[in-house]
């Protein structure tokens, strides 16, 4: 679910955020990696926190 969310958001951000096809692809991949990476990092952080 997180992967599909990150992918869909990355597609939109990549298209509206940059001007050339190469820049769009790189920016989209960067956004995707950031969403997934930060999501996993937060999940592990919250796992260890006694909330």
């Amino acid at each position: 679910m997180m992967i599909s969310f990150a992918a869909l958001v990355a597609v939109v951000f990549g298209i509206v955020g940059r001007d050339t096809a190469r820049e769009r692809a790189l920016y989209g991949l960067k956004i995707f990696a950031e969403f997934v990476g930060i999501g996993l990092a937060l999940a592990w952080l919250l796992y260890f926190l006694p909330l």
């Binding site: 679910m1 599909s4 969310f5 869909l8 958001v9 597609v11 939109v12 298209i15 509206v16 001007d19």
Partner: protein, 146 residues
């Protein structure tokens, strides 16, 4: 004089472009993907519109909840305005669901679903992404973007 003529001519052209841009923005908001499709940008329309449609449908399938002002929950109705604005970004998808009563139920049974909050997030973000797509379509029609 020449400068004045140029200015008037440029202003008229800009006025025409602005009206078209507003129409494209309206189309992009009302039907996700339409703003780019009407400008002949098929791939961009498919990607942007497809992402918004996919996210909205996924949100509904996950059991998400669409917001309006007439909620059954207790509390201030003003708190429902920001998420409603986000949901309204989906344009005709929101109004179709509103007309058919799809996705507006907020009973305890629906809220108990494990994917309820995920669905809410998908629905909210679908609308917000469509606002971005709408601005992109507007900028292209106004000549600010290629």
């Amino acid at each position: 004089m020449r400068t004045k003529e140029r200015g008037l001519s440029g202003g008229a052209a800009a006025g025409g472009a602005t009206a078209t841009a507003w129409l494209m923005g309206l189309a992009a908001w009302a039907f996700p993907g339409a703003g780019h499709l009407l400008q002949g940008r098929l791939v961009r329309a498919l990607l942007l519109g497809g992402a918004v449609w996919a996210m909205f449908i996924a949100g509904l399938l996950l059991g998400g909840h669409l917001f309006d002002l007439s909620g059954q929950e207790d509390g201030n109705a003003l708190l429902r305005v920001p998420p409603m604005i986000a949901n309204l970004g989906s344009g005709v998808l929101y109004f179709y669901c509103w007309a058919t009563g799809t996705g507006f139920a907020e009973g305890a049974e629906q809220a108990a679903r494990a994917t309820f909050e995920y669905g809410n997030t998908f629905l909210l973000v679908a609308g917000l992404l469509n606002y971005l797509a709408m601005l992109d379509a507007f900028d292209i029609a106004a000549g600010r973007k290629s």
